[in-house]
Amino acid sequence: MRDFWNTALKDLGKIGVAYILITVGVWVVFMILIPQLIMFDYSLRPMLPLRDIGGPKDVWTLKNYMVFFTNRLHMAIFFKTIWSSLIVTVTALTICYPIAFYLAKVARGAKIGLLMLGLIIPYWINELLRLFAWQIILADMGILNQFLIFLGIIADPINFRMGNGAVILGMTYAYILFMVFPIYNVMESLDRNQLDAARDLGASWLRIHYKIVMPHAKPGIAVGCTMTFMLAAGTVAAPQLLGSPSSFWFTQVINTNFECANWNLGAAYATVLMLLCVVFMFMMLKLFKVGLKELTQ
Amino acid sequence: MGQDVEISGVSMRFNEVYAVRDINVHIQAGEFFSFLGPSGCGKTTLLRLVSGFMDPSEGQIKIGGKDMCKIGSNNRPTAMIFQNLALFPLMTVAQNIGFGLEVRHVAKAKREKKVEELIELVDLYGTGDRMVSELSGGQKQRVAIARALAVNPAVLLLDEPLSALDLRLRNHMRAELRNIQRRTDVTFIYITHDQTEALTMSDRVGVMSIGKLEQVAKPDIIYNTPKTAFVASFVGESNIVDGDIIRIDGDYALLKTAAGSFFGKNPQHMDKGETATIFIRPETVFLATDSHAENRLTCRTKTISFEGAYAVVTLATEQGQIFTMRLNNDGSVPRIEEGETIKVRFNRENAFLLKDGGTSIA
């Protein structure tokens, strides 16, 4: 232990070590740990009017969680959120995998830069405005409906916003970048010669992908899926803009709780969401047998 | 001006392993001293201990009579030239050289003047404003040297600085370094695994085996009178034969080996009955033209390779022992044919009996 401090001081000097300890310390303690613990604490306390806080009624209780587990509507919403987020993840993966592969292995030279730019530019525009674009497209008198009517395929406009479809579509649109880049990064490190060799030996493209590319890309896929799922499950913007009452999202439930000033209940629900994300992440790690270290932008 | 460096009982331990153990040597002020040894012998560790990057686990280092304990590398009167040179890539040549002065808050005018002087000293005219990445290997070397000299160190530490250069440049730089050292009178501590470098450049050489200092002496003494088997086998080439001591004769001893019995010097004062190894340099083996019987071998020549100024002859005794002989091409020796059986011998003053075998060269 002493050795560690001596080396640290020798390497970085007193000010350096102090700087690191203070910045990281403040960050971890005041911004990461304590707020989380407080949220957790809130979730365990009942909602009380101001004057009762700190008094005899202020005890630790699982009541808030019980409210959640006994509320069938909320449970249904919770599972629907999970299910829809999974759909978003899978859809994004299916769309992005070829793109990532193309970008990493097939495209050459100037094309790569251009395509990258084409991927990144939309993301510089605010997420909400992009979702708004879809709102317009999918509205009752929106572009898609007008187009279909114009083509004579339908007579009356379709209410795209009924059900989850619009939300899922919007989310996929919003989170494509988070799926493409991790996979692209991993694929880049794959030696092109392996592919050529396999091709040379007569393997079909399907085989090549299944046996060579995908195993190599596993970490990237895991990261991409984790991020996409967590973004999908944890976002408020898309459901707010593209959803309808029938596609209420779990995060919106949390929001409602806060709007009604029931912070305790909201904290409990938020903790549930948090647990969901943690569980999902560990599942992904196990599924793809990946360590925690893989995270690049 | 150079200062002396006194290393007393210095050991350095990393967890359970000793990188260097009980090193004792007194390097004189203004001396060009080399530590010579194979990779992993601890010479880099020793250099880093002197420069102050580490403090020794045991022992003491004094520079100019002052104890360096706990004094960091930035406060010691030393400057180091790293193996990878460690030039600052984002700075020009002049900025690199002037760095030591800059951090000492030397006035700009004075600093620039000193930088100019040093650029002249190391022969880098006109490169002051170039980025170091644009320079050749030899030029980068000289920037490193100038940069180190700028802070007027009492001791300059050089970590195998020439190993990355090609042969011609290396030879040239060796002469230059020696030159600079003589002119500035700074104490040079040089580490290398190349014995030619150590022997040609240094005032004294310290030969190191794994963590231990085997011998400290002038180059010719190291070469001609090795004190231990390691030194004898590491420095220069030797014929090596193991055997048992059967007789003591003053400073000499008789070693009985499979190839015959030989007399050699006994510097370690070994006793009768001890196992020892005899070391004989190839150039001290010659054709036996007289009837002198001592240290005489009858061998068959296996190969002869003419290398211009001399010839290397590989011989095999009846028992299969391989000997190497080096003959000068000065016409004094009759031509030898391959496959011929000849008689060779060597003088007892040129042979050394030392404890612990070395590595054979054949």
């Binding site: 560690f4 007193k14 000010i15 350096g16 700087y19 690191i20 990281v24 960050w27 911004m31 990461i32 707020p35 407080i38 949220m39 097939v106 830069g113 395509l115 084409g118 530019i121 939309p122 510089w124 525009i125 605010n126 997420e127 405005l129 708004f132 674009a133 709102q135 317009i136 497209i137 929106g142 572009i143 007008q146 649109y173 984790t226 967590m230 944890g234 976002t235 408020v236 913007a237 803009l241 995060t251 929001n255 909201g266 904290a267 938020a270 969401l273 994300c277 992440m281 925690l292 270290k293 995270l295 | 102050g52 990057f53 400057a79 180091m80 460690a86 600052f88 030591g100 951090v103 802070v151």
Partner: protein, 267 residues
């Protein structure tokens, strides 16, 4: 063999076209609508070319106030996140200790945490225990929690390629720790620091999820947009989108231009 290759090419080409159409068409539609003199954001019926929505946007006090807040918050976030990110990067790249992987996990965890949870926890902490109500300050802190992680990762990837013998050489020549850091280490890290500043700014400016829960009654631009879009939809929002698009395209052009110049310089 050849014909299958060209079929292959066609499929790829088609896929790419569809993909980028999917990405860009919505934006193109947005832009067109911004100039349509139609009260409702649509392409048809086309009621004439107009710039009035831009005018309406410019007159919106709330929008300007939210924009100002966005800048305030973004600059503050940069000022907090980059130093913290630097601290974290130095901790993980320069110090060796057993719990390194664990600490790495902790410092990266904010990225993996849903934004709203960061917002909620920050809000609860400062509002209840520190008596600072939800507002710009809590938004800044909530955002900084995870943006610091991004900065840290960015700086780390550069710091890992740093040749430490340079620092040793500088020490050896007599520099103090401060001088070594300022003259040797920092210049090396500068590109990463600059790009993390840019990243932090953009992420902060754009952030919705965390800010929504942390900011209480105040507004940054995304919050403003969110509220507006949920209540009364007006093509003024399209005008705002066009402004964004223009700035983005401008940014992209400048970026490409500078990149091309760098490549020419290096050649």
């Amino acid at each position: 063999m050849k014909s299958s290759k060209s079929i292959f090419r066609i499929i790829i080409g088609l896929y790419l076209t569809l993909f980028f159409a999917y990405m860009f068409l919505p934006l193109i539609f947005m832009t067109i609508i911004a100039f349509n003199a139609n009260d409702i954001p649509q392409i048809t019926p086309w009621k004439g070319f107009t710039l009035m929505w831009f005018g309406e946007l410019a007159k919106d006090e709330q929008m300007w106030s939210a924009l100002w807040n966005s800048f305030l918050v973004a600059f503050s976030v940069v000022a907090i996140s980059v130093p913290i990110g630097l601290g974290g990067a130095l901790l993980l790249t320069r110090l060796q200790f057993k719990a390194r992987n664990f600490v790495y996990g902790v410092l990266v965890s904010p990225i993996l945490t849903p934004g709203i949870i960061l917002g909620i926890s920050t809000f609860l902490f400062w509002d209840s225990y520190m008596d600072i109500p939800g507002g710009l300050w809590t938004a800044i802190l909530g955002q900084s929690t995870f943006i610091s992680s991004y900065c840290m990762l960015l700086i780390m990837s550069r710091a890992q390629r740093f040749d430490l013998t340079q620092e040793e050489a500088a020490f050896d020549l007599g520099a103090t720790h401060g001088q070594v850091f300022w003259k040797i280490t920092l210049p090396f890290l500068r590109p990463a620091l600059i790009s993390s500043m840019a990243l932090a700014f953009m992420q902060s400016f754009d952030n919705y999820n965390t800010t929504l829960f942390a900011i209480g009654v105040e507004q940054t631009l995304p919050i403003y947009i969110g509220t507006k879009l949920r209540s009364f939809i007006s093509p003024a929002m399209n005008a705002l989108a066009v402004v964004f698009i223009l700035l983005t395209v401008l940014g992209a052009i400048i970026y490409e231009y500078r990149r091309r110049r760098e490549m020419i310089k290096a050649a």
